[in-house]
Symmetry: C2
């Protein structure tokens, strides 16, 4: 593909969802995806906790996630595929104050038809062998840990095998005639004047300029538009052009602990919450450590989004930190779940979130023939289909994107200049 | 000063204005300013075009600039100082379309008492020997240059000797008992738990953390609060902590051309606009190249804020680019002002703007005992006094800052979470 109409940087879930939807909307356009890795979804997409939920107070959040989740469900049926969606649900363990602070919003969400169940601490401690009264432990008190008074269970939520979703997008994109070129690292986005005059060194300051392609380690690719879906690398590609995408990379770590003791197996296969017959995805009170049931490997994935003190930093090979587990996550988890006493991770990894530092919701905008789709801030997997459609609509110069299920979404709402995202009021 | 109450990073105009106002509001607090350079205002403050104007549609912009300018005027009288304020005025040279687009806003500003004068192209061409009809030149047309139909002259505007202002703030700050330590480079901001438990490697994720001082190349300085007024360096200090200040550095260049020809002298000493008896600060139509009368050196300063294509990039020694003048600025200037034919700069330099990429207005916020004052995006000099007062009010835990002349300003309006800045609608 010599001069494609559009080159998409990044074959992660956002890049491939965008590629597929562009090709679907504009079948005659030549669409090329490039990625520095050797296959689809091998970057931070593969390192995701791979959870989804359709439960947000913000209409923006909810629409992006819900239509994407519904699309994944639909694809499973339509194409007879299995994305290994497990409807384990999210269980937020809350202190009374956290619950009270959110009560009004929850009631409003209830009226909007968003389902949840509230469990009391007895139910939780009985079914999960959870220590709800951590404040009775002097050390836990010193650590500032909070008692669990309420469990908020969200049923429309669970885990998904992201790799299968990425491969679905890639396959369908290729079927439609799209091309993907791997092992190709983009060094920079090229710019040139809209009306080239052939002067060496142009564009100069009096010329209107635009992106005209990319320079890769395998050569130059000229294109009509450049889509930047490079996740954590987005700012490193856009800063040299003086375009701010308001996205910064931040390391996130996951530690996998085997359910190799009887009490841990009992926790993992807890039947009290969902039809999957395993424990839900559990989020502890502040600092919000999570525990995911990784049923395929009979294990738990533990993680925590640390904010202040965790650098915005681009790393090619971010590493998980032993002490982050040992003195951080483990110390908290074991106070609530004594079952984890003495457990070490048998595997761990780290990836980079692309954090939108304005409002932690995704960003899709166009500037000088560069389309940016990024900033999902850790919810890229659960919002990918919607974001792919919105980026494709921007490419197709449509004012509204049609999300799965016929939902209309105004493209400029996720932009920078006319940004209109509803803030998330449910903060658990 | 072993453990000051507050350490301020940066002895530029924002750092020293903040230092002075903190010391004024809290005379008993120990305030220490550190800077990597050898004296006050030697970084990007010294590289500024040093212009000011009290003419904005945005109330935020106007209040910050106007109260600062009024304060500088007051200081000159009160302390019998001369900041070399020259009321040369700003003259925006506008194409008819630009003028029409702004007409309504200008009329509104007129009703608010903001003074300006509109000149027609005859007046401009006669008094400035300006070529208003550039479109008659084929090359200029090819370059996309626009005819000048209207001159919008703003009288409450001019130039100032920034170095004298910075030195004023430093002297008064030191008089009040403040301390400044130069040749001291901050390597990083230190963080520690609010309730230290003495565990190696703390703070951990379950601990509340705060900034506790700075590590410099001359040793550690512990402090109650850390004020970051480091201009272009702000993000390099805050990114490692995972705090986004929404400020990025961008190079700006100035080229100084001697008025060594008769026609250039005539232009420089043009009497038709201001009581200073020199030409005003002139801004050409898009791409908005400016020409400043640098009367002390009988020269013109030429510059241009290039956007798309100009990298966000931190450099210790940014250099002016010969081609930026030769093929960029010069080519445009000479079409409007043939007097500059053949002129080369006898001096040039480059500095870094601290650009707030959200709205190009300044940012003042506090997070975990770090106070950030930055992002003035090139208008730091003309807004410094107000910004110093707002940062000092934040330090003193006041809800409102009292700007010069008794104007109240809500501190959180310049913050990130409850930001409330009026967008600038006058875009010339």
């Amino acid at each position: 593909m010599a001069n494609p109409d559009v080159v998409i940087i990044g074959a992660g879930i956002l890049g491939l969802a965008t590629a597929y939807h562009i090709k679907r909307m504009r079948p005659r356009d030549e669409v090329l995806v490039v990625d520095m890795l050797s296959g689809p979804g091998q970057g931070n997409t593969a390192k995701s906790a791979a959870m989804f939920r359709s439960f947000f107070s913000s209409k923006t959040n909810l629409t992006l996630a819900d239509t994407s989740i519904e699309f994944y469900k639909h694809v499973q049926e339509e194409y007879n595929l299995d994305f290994k969606m497990r409807w384990v649900g999210y269980l937020f363990l809350l202190n009374e104050n956290d619950y009270k602070r959110n009560k009004e919003i929850l009631e409003e969400m209830d009226r909007r038809g968003l389902k949840y169940v509230v469990y009391d601490s007895d139910y939780l401690s009985k079914n999960l062998n959870l220590n709800t009264k951590v404040s009775e432990d002097e050390e836990a008190r010193l650590m500032g840990l909070l008692d669990v008074d309420v469990g908020l269970f969200v049923p429309k939520a669970g885990s998904i095998d992201v790799d299968l979703v990425v491969k679905f997008y890639e396959r369908e994109f290729l079927k439609l005639g799209g091309k993907a070129q791997y092992n190709t690292k983009v060094k920079r986005i090229l710019i040139e004047p809209r009306n080239p005059l052939g002067i060496p060194g142009e564009p100069y300051v009096w010329q209107d300029a635009r992106a005209s392609g990319v320079e890769t380690d395998k050569g130059v690719i000229k294109a009509g538009k450049v889509v930047v879906a490079a996740g954590a690398w987005v700012s490193s590609l856009l800063d040299p052009l003086g375009v701010d995408c308001h996205v910064k990379p931040k390391k996130r770590q996951i530690f996998s602990v085997k359910a190799d003791k009887e009490e841990l197996k009992k926790l993992l296969w807890c039947k009290a919450f969902n039809p999957e017959g395993c424990m839900p995805f559990i989020i502890l009170p502040k600092p919000h450590i999570y525990i995911k049931p990784a049923v395929e490997e009979e294990a738990f994935w533990l993680g925590c989004a640390d904010e202040f003190g965790r650098a915005f930093k681009l790393e090619d090979e971010p590493l998980p930190e032993e002490n982050f587990y040992k003195y951080g996550i483990y110390q908290v988890v074991v106070k609530y779940f004594p079952q984890f006493e003495g457990c070490s991770p048998y595997s761990s990894w780290a990836g980079l979130y692309a954090i939108n530092t304005i409002d932690e919701q995704p960003i899709v905008f166009e500037e000088n023939d560069i389309i940016v789709v990024s900033g999902a801030s850790g919810s890229g997997v659960m919002k990918a289909d919607a974001l792919g459609r919105i980026a494709a609509a921007l490419y197709a110069e449509e004012e509204y994107a049609e999300l799965y299920g016929g939902v209309k979404f105004k493209v400029s709402d996720l932009g920078i200049k006319e940004r209109k995202v509803e803030p998330e009021r449910l903060v658990l």
